[in-house]
């Protein structure tokens, strides 16, 4: 049984909850980044919630996903814990990667989340690889590779899809076409009208769906999943969506104007879905408000958890390179462990 599905009332509410959670998580992350509490880069998923949540609604809990640099939404959609995610963003020992990964590398392989990814287009080969393991072991899963519109221009994406198609592997490729790769509009990156047209190069189905409509995304991915499980190989699902924030936090966005953003916001995936549920009588405005409050509190709690969590001990920097630490690293690690007391102090 899937974690949640759009076919039940309960599932639809869960989907709404996850979309709201993503938005709240990411706007909060944006704030703490601005304050300087979150280091590095953050790429927010705000505006694109329907894609990740729609796609994951079509998956079973043990299916795999391989994500992108804009990965928070995929993580939450896949059921990762916002507390541990936020702790990771804050670089804390209790984060998903013990602070080693940060926003761009959150992963939880046991939950089927094969990692956000700092390399554009690197997820699809990993998804093809997970699909290979599934196929090799005759397991009942599928593997989903997320990628952006810009990533479609990457050679390794082409190779990964071609391999999955040629071997009829149980994979699905979800292209999040948010109209831009950094500051460059999709038209300047590709010659095709729809990115799903690329499916023709692999003789697999390619569909373009309204990526601001969580149901449309879920339906397309469900069909793709079924096809994959039936042994018919991968599908490309292009979801037309839009990011409301800059490419990363701090982006001054010389490449687009406010009007364009406003126009897309009229299609806001959360508003549309919550209105649908309200119209259908599955949700009252009151309940929606409660849900929002609940989530706000949850994310606040996640921030508190992250803030309170300890920073990793410097000696942790030497762990996890290999199954066993080689002598090359050991000499630094033992030095760091020896220094531990003196440099440690208040590690928060």
């Amino acid at each position: 049984m899937a974690d949640y599905t759009l076919e039940t009332e309960e599932g639809r509410r869960e989907a709404l909850r996850r979309m709201l959670t993503i938005r709240e998580f990411d706007s909060t992350a944006g704030d703490y980044f601005a304050d300087g509490e979150i280091p590095g880069f953050v790429h927010l998923y705000i505006g694109e919630e329907a894609v990740g949540v729609g796609a994951c609604a079509a998956l079973e809990p043990d299916d795999y996903i391989a994500s992108t640099h804009r990965g928070h939404g995929h993580c939450i959609a896949k059921g990762l814990d916002p507390k541990l995610m936020m702790a990771e963003l804050f670089g804390k020992q209790d984060g998903y990667c013990n602070g080693k990964g940060g926003s761009m590398h959150i992963a939880d392989v046991d939950s089927g989340m094969l990692g956000a990814n700092g390399i554009v287009g690197a997820g699809p080969p990993l998804a093809t690889g997970a699909a290979l393991s599934i196929d090799y072991d005759d397991r009942e899963q599928v593997a989903v590779g997320f990628l952006g519109d810009g990533a479609v221009a990457q050679g390794q994406v082409h190779e990964a899809i071609n391999l999955a198609a040629t071997w009829d592997l149980p994979a699905v490729f979800v292209v999040e076409n948010n109209r831009y790769g950094e500051g460059t509009p999709v038209e300047e990156q590709h010659n095709v009208d729809d990115l799903s047209d690329t499916a023709g190069a692999y003789d697999i189905p390619g569909v373009t769906v309204d990526g601001m409509d969580v149901t449309a995304v879920a339906e397309a991915v469900e069909e793709a999943r079924k096809r994959a499980r039936d042994g018919d190989g991968p599908t490309i699902v292009e979801a037309e969506t839009y990011r409301y924030r800059g490419h990363y936090e701090g982006d001054e966005q010389p490449y687009r104007d406010e009007d364009e953003i406003e126009k897309w916001k009229e299609q806001d995936p959360i508003d549309r879905f919550s209105e649908l549920l309200v119209d259908r009588g599955e949700l009252t405005e009151e309940e929606l408000k409660e849900l929002r409050d609940e989530i706000e509190a949850e994310i606040e709690e996640a921030v508190e958890y992250a803030q309170d969590a300890p920073l990793p001990d410097p000696s942790e920097a030497y762990e996890d390179m290999f199954a066993e630490m080689p002598p090359e690293i050991e000499r630094f690690a033992s030095q760091a462990r020896a220094d531990g007391g003196s440099l440690g102090g208040d590690r928060r």
Partner: protein, 335 residues
Amino acid sequence: MTAQAEIERAEETEAMTVREAIRMGLREELERDEDVYLMGEDVGKFGGVLEVTSGLWEEFGDERVRDTPISEAGFIGAATGAAATGTRPVAELMFSDFMGVSMEQIMNQMAKMRYMFGGKTEMPVTVRTTEGGGMGAASQHSGTVHAWIAHFPGLKAVAPGTAAAAKGLTKAAVRSDDPVFVFENKMIYEQQGEVPTDEEFTVPLGEAAVEREGEDVTVVATQRLVGESLQTADSLADDVSVEVIDVRSLYPLDTETIADSVRKTGRLVVADESPLSYGVHAEIVSRVQEEAFFSLDAPIQRIGTPDTHMPFSPPLEQEVLPDGDDVREAIELIT
């Protein structure tokens, strides 16, 4: 020749950051030679993610400052093909960590065409890219991979440590008829320095610079560690006289300047951010022990990243990132 001398010889200099110095070098070369153009992801309207090319698109337009799709193999391959057919592309690889995507065109085409073809083509292509940890950008945006390029036959590699070197090497790279990689450490883009404003100022590929003279120990450093080593040298001035050399050019490598210094000091610390095992340091160590074996009074010390990737969390990143303190400890160990 020492860097001091180059700057002293310059009629006029101006204080500017490394970022401004590179931009100035690029602008001058775009002005000087119509065959030169820039290409890369968001180098145009966006101005480059680390803002190095900012303003150049406005000045030179779409044809000469070209935004590319996210296709490093495609556009670095295209730059290679273009360089073989009469134009002089300058490609920006946004982060050196993305080199893997385009490595085939680099290693088998760009690096080899001239040789395989018996000299039947020039290869005037420049690849600029950023390296280094220190900004919390985590493992896939903080690497220092210049040892790969320095090692691979047929490629030249430079890695400036000062604003003047940044301008001079960038211009020399663009003017070279060979493929040259310019490795810009992202943490020194804001570092200030005096830069010759002469449009003919270049730093020859293959020449190191003595940035500070000293008698007791030589520190050979690259990129960010040049500045940090100079500070360390100053702070130790009462106890030990440290000579600091900016390698500047990894390949060709100026063995003579380095060996001469060690012949004088007898002691050497090599500081470079690449991972230590099989890193850039090792080559410098090897050449010095070949050229100045009997002058060496102590084992050569290597300061680099201890064979890990760059972790995200600041205390971890600071732990593995080599810095001026590490240079100090190494100096203290052998003096």
